[in-house]
């Protein structure tokens, strides 16, 4: 018990003193997850709009499939990305395995279904009369889609934040394809997982507290946005 208590106090010291290693790990985590989130949104928002604004056979099934991938196991994505980018894999020549780049790709794959699914439901939530109004005022198909996206902006932003939350808190992909290399691919979650097993509770607790704080900030932001 005293060990945990002491670990907690030291962890707070690490945070308050803005310890270089802690800050470096947190900074990297944020950069990787923000990048994966932005890339995922660049892919998801146009595709979600295409799915929403077009009628085609199997549309409902496709949406159900996308929703199924919301709970994609991170280790499964990790394994898939690892196989893809490992030396013997089809993209092995790119030499990306155990780099932050491949971690971004992995997290992007993880959260793309979430962003896709939530953007589709955000667009579906927009009053149908908005589409009629835009068209009746002379908007083209593309302009109408932009209007609907603009109307759904808070819900889309909420989707983005959900995706970010999932990306920054996952450990499977970061560990499997990142490798927790100190000063290069070590992020909050992989550090907690490995430092704990090494007995360095202070660093783990400090990072754990920061991760919780990030989650708290995300939730507050999400609540604010959803109230709009």
């Amino acid at each position: 018990m005293t060990e945990i208590g002491q670990g907690f106090i030291k962890a707070l010291e690490l945070i308050v003193s803005l310890d270089a290693e802690v800050m470096e790990i947190v900074g990297r985590s944020l950069r990787i997850s923000v990048a994966s989130c932005l890339l995922a949104s660049l892919i998801s928002i146009p595709i979600a709009s295409l799915i929403h604004f077009h009628r085609f056979p199997g549309k409902r099934f496709l949406i159900s499939l996308i929703q199924t991938f919301f709970s994609l196991p991170t280790v499964a994505v990790g394994l898939f990305v690892f196989v893809l980018f490992s030396r013997a894999g089809p993209l092995g020549g790119l030499n990306l395995v155990f780099t932050p780049t491949v971690m971004v790709i992995g997290q992007m794959i993880l959260i793309t279904p979430i962003l896709l699914g939530l953007t589709i439901s955000a667009l579906s939530g927009v009053d149908k009369a908005i589409v009629d109004t835009a068209r009746s005022l002379g908007a083209s198909g593309f302009q109408t889609a932009l209007v609907v996206l603009r109307e759904a902006r808070y819900a889309v932003l909420a989707a983005l934040i959900m995706g970010f939350g999932r990306a920054i808190s996952e450990v499977g992909i970061a560990l499997m394809v990142g490798g927790n290399i100190r000063g290069f691919t070590k992020v909050i979650t992989t550090a907690i997982s490995l430092e704990t097993s090494k007995g360095d509770l202070e660093l783990s607790i400090a990072l754990g507290i920061i991760l919780l704080l990030i989650a708290l900030v995300i939730n507050i932001a999400l609540n604010r946005i959803q109230q709009r």
Binding site: D127, A129, I130, D132, T133, A134, R135, S136, L137, G138, A139, S140, Q143, V147, R150, E151
Partner: protein, 303 residues
């Protein structure tokens, strides 16, 4: 040549005929009111004219050109019209941006847009609300934003669907004033749907009566309100006394009619033997205690 013409226009939803062979011509600069009860198909007809829907059959001509099918022509024609929906939806942005949207979509220069939007804001008395989010406005104000947004693009045809439904009396008066202003100022061709008969009378040059998907009568307000051509139209325009009868003789434009054994006379060109309905407006009946000496053609005793 008519600006808008529909030929045998039909629409079906789920095997139900919503519009049946609508033949309508609206001239340039004309104000045309579609009156009819709720569910008669007024909104559907406006949606078809604005090319938001494709008809089940029939043709639509805009300025003499058949625009029923070609996607490009439909888009180009839609850009020459504006439609104010019954329940106005405003975009979740400022009042100014709401009005500017249609102009931006047409690639107008920002200086021109600013000038246009500011002058329209004056017309609809919404200048103080310029920077407010349009979603925070009242129903009447939102309706004015919707109308402002529509007239900002200077449409050749303005379609209004129940422009004063769900509004309080003050907002109704303001909206009607605004529509009158548009008619006088811009000379826009207007097709409006309304279930408010007197509104149709006040604003429109001609009235079309749409009941159960059929355009039963078209004419100026005097014709429609005083000479309804069918029982349905008579009931719609508020004639409460409708009595069925048979014409027993017809001479020099005066018909003698047998209504359940009572003989009355009326101005009519219907031939002898035809079954007709006699419509008597309550305000046309004079009640007297004793039989008056007057020129009234029909005098009946009652209790």
């Amino acid at each position: 040549m008519s600006l808008i013409e529909t030929v045998d226009l039909c629409q079906r939803y789920d095997e139900r005929d919503v519009l049946k062979r609508i033949n309508l011509k609206v001239d340039k600069g004309e104000v045309f009111a579609l009156i009819g009860p709720t569910g008669a198909g007024k909104t559907t007809l406006l949606r078809l004219i604005d090319l938001l829907e494709t008809p089940a059959s029939g043709r639509i001509y805009f300025d003499g050109i058949d625009i029923t099918e070609s996607g490009r022509l439909r888009f180009e024609s839609r850009r020459r019209m504006a439609f104010v929906l019954q329940k106005p939806v405003v975009f979740n942005i400022s009042v100014y941006d709401n009005i500017a949207y249609g102009l931006r979509w047409r690639g107008k220069k920002s200086g021109d847009i600013r000038e246009k939007v500011n002058s329209i804001l004056e017309v609809v008395s919404l200048t103080p609300y310029k920077n407010r989010n349009a979603r925070t406005l009242s129903g009447g104000e939102a309706q004015r934003v919707a109308i402002a947004r529509a007239i900002a693009i200077e449409p050749e045809v303005l379609l209004l669907d129940e422009p004063t439904a769900n509004l309080d009396p003050v907002s109704i008066a303001k909206t009607e004033q605004l529509i009158s202003h548009i008619i006088r100022q811009y000379g826009t061709t207007i097709i409006m749907a309304t279930h408010d008969m007197s509104q149709g009378q006040r604003l429109a040059d001609r009235i079309g009566v749409l009941i159960d998907g059929e355009l039963l009568q078209i004419g100026d307000s005097r014709e429609v309100f005083n000479l309804p051509r069918s029982r349905e139209v008579a009931e719609l325009v508020g004639i409460e006394n409708i009595i069925d009868g048979v014409i027993t003789s017809s001479e020099e434009g005066i018909a003698t009619i047998d209504v359940g054994g009572i003989i009355i006379e009326a101005v009519s060109n219907h031939p002898t033997g035809e079954r007709i309905s006699v419509c008597i407006r309550p305000e046309d009946i004079t009640l007297a205690v004793s039989k008056p000496a007057s020129s009234a053609r029909n005098s009946l005793s009652g209790k």
